[in-house]
Amino acid sequence: MTATVDPVWGTDSPRWRRRVAADRYVSYLLPLLFLAVLYPLLDLIYWIGAEALPTLSWRTLTTNPSGFGGGLLAPITGTLYLIAISTALAGTVGIVAGMYTAEFASPRVASLGRLGGNLLAGVPAIVIGYFGYFALVLYTHWGMTLVAGGITLSIFMIPYIYRTADLAFGSVPADQREAAFGMGASRGQYLRRVAWPIAFPRILTGIFIAMAIGLGETAPLLFTAGWNFVPATGLSSQTSYLTGLIWLYYSAPTDFGTELALAFQAAFLLIVIVIALNVIVQLIAERYRRRLRGLFR
């Protein structure tokens, strides 16, 4: 990097040096912006862990919350029930709707369907919560129930599964498709034997992502699922859930009982589950990428 005048390349102007230097600085400095997001992320994980781990024990998982502490049994089972209901509903709707959009719908209808899905994903959670309260709690006279919470949550999850299913069915390689129909397969046979095996892993990633999102939602459940200090006993009983427990206890004074610790433990569990789901999604996506690369060459 000497500043001697070069007869062949002829570049020694200050402007030239500034340009090259700017490029070099930016290429080093810009990635440092990642610190601005990585640092808070790690700080959050660190603190949640630090507050939760010292008091986390087997009892946490096996006892119910009480006024002064206890464990997370009821919220854990509640979250599992809610996710089971909402995944079953949103999964069915999302997969079938995605299949229709990718496979049967005219381009117009397909793009309308996609628009609907994408816009639904943008509806604020609290608005869906209000909707769930009126539509499923009040007007049905069910009251706050596990099933009302599950259905409300599923509205939130549908767009994610719908979109991945749509993409997954829509991206079955054309030659696979033509080969199937060329051999005289019916549409049903094609969907079952050819499209589904190819699309399934990808749909699964959509389902896991939707589960991670549903798991972390609070607002749609606050006015639909109710609350319960013991595990829900049926679809029509009220239920607690992990996010709700945090919501309830986050502002509890630290010197009064162990509610705050319990809230942190719930947060810790949620993070662990979310990270686990993310890892699973990545593993599936990775395997899937490799498999598809073969198909697309």
């Binding site: 049967f104 509806v123 604020p124 719908y162 060329g182 949620l270 993310n278």
Partner: protein
């Protein structure tokens, strides 16, 4: 395969007007009974649109079409169940809170994510970029209520004891950063809400900006480089120019998310009903009002109606923001990076 991946000839010609979502090419099969399958599956694909309509219908119905008159947009929020005549349901304070938090958060998130996306696309080696993208993605997966408890228990004391007094004494001359030290209170307030909100919006905007930078044809990028531009110059003069619609839409979709974020903001914003005199001050947003007062509204019909109408307004505004944002987007853009690792990308 006769085109080589290096000569740019496989890239479709530059076209600015690729705003419509690109449907997969129509692929009609030569045979197959379409009717039955289509009829059975069609209704479910209308469900999302149906839900949107149902939300409007139910909220309208639940509001009794009550007309609060002009005072609805006024600054006085004064629900009084005992004396309905003197009660006032002005939502201006909350609207201002929403606008302030969302605008600031989206501005920060936008700037940050443009930098992150440029790094991911242009400056970081592939494997490192993938790992970092995963971390950003993880940020999107953290539940709001977890952000909330972290903000309330961990960050708020730090804000109250260290950050905000320091800002106040060093940058107090700037608008919003000065004021009385009383405003700092427990550390909850506008500033903390903006910070938490920024973190929550950044993954979405980063993924979207990254995708729109990636949509810049390779051939254009190479043309810039072939003219003797540095990578940074190409980013500035080609990518950012070409992708500006996509960036605009990323910001709008980020705004859509920020406007509706409820739980985390509620936990860290302080929830005073007033216009915030400083960035440290506690205030409220429309979403925090909706979540904070619904319980008590069960027995006060007027308050319930007011809240429902506010919910409807929030819904319509976010819907509009999303519709506009999506008009500039080529992809569905749910903003999950993992979703994007699909076969289209894998194949190229």
């Amino acid at each position: 395969m006769t085109t080589s991946p290096t000569d740019g000839s496989t890239i479709p010609p530059a076209s600015e007007a690729s705003s419509e979502p690109v449907p997969p090419p129509a692929r009609r099969p030569p045979t197959g009974r379409k009717r039955a399958g289509a009829v059975l599956t069609a209704p479910l694909s209308w469900l999302p649109l149906l839900f949107l309509a149902a939300i409007v219908a139910v909220l309208l119905y639940a509001s009794d079409f009550h007309n609060f008159g002009l005072s609805f947009w006024g600054p006085n929020w004064f629900p009084d169940p005992l004396d309905p005549a003197s009660a006032s349901y002005g939502v201006l304070v909350f609207a201002v809170g929403t606008v302030l938090t969302s605008a600031l958060a989206v501005f920060l998130a936008g700037v940050l994510s443009i930098g992150l996306a440029i790094s991911l696309v242009m400056f970081l080696p592939g494997p490192l970029a993938r790992v970092l993208a995963l971390f950003v993605d993880l940020l999107a997966g953290i539940p709001s209520v977890v952000y909330g408890i972290w903000g309330y228990v961990v960050l708020a004391p730090y804000f109250a004891n260290d950050l905000e007094p320091a800002l106040q004494s060093h940058l107090g001359f700037l608008p919003g950063l000065g004021g009385s030290s009383v405003e700092i209170a427990g550390g909850t307030g506008l500033l903390l809400a903006v910070l938490v909100l920024t973190l929550m919006v950044v993954p979405l905007t980063t993924a979207l900006v990254r995708d729109s930078l990636r949509s810049v044809p390779r051939a254009l990028e190479e043309s810039g480089l072939a003219l003797g531009a540095t990578r940074w110059e190409v980013v500035r003069r080609v990518h950012l120019r070409y992708a500006r619609r996509g960036i605009f839409s990323a910001v709008l979709l980020g705004l859509g998310r920020a406007l509706g974020e409820t739980v985390a903001v509620f936990m860290v914003i302080g929830n005073q009903v007033r216009f915030p005199p400083t960035l440290y001050s506690g205030t409220s947003t429309i979403a925090t009002l909706l979540v904070g007062q619904f319980d008590s509204a069960f027995i006060y019909p007027d308050l319930l109606r007011a809240l429902v109408e506010i919910a409807l307004v929030l819904f319509l505004i976010t819907l509009a923001v999303n519709v506009i944002g999506r008009r500039f987007l080529t992809d569905g853009g749910l903003g999950r990076i993992a979703l994007e690792a699909g076969p289209e990308k894998a194949a190229s």
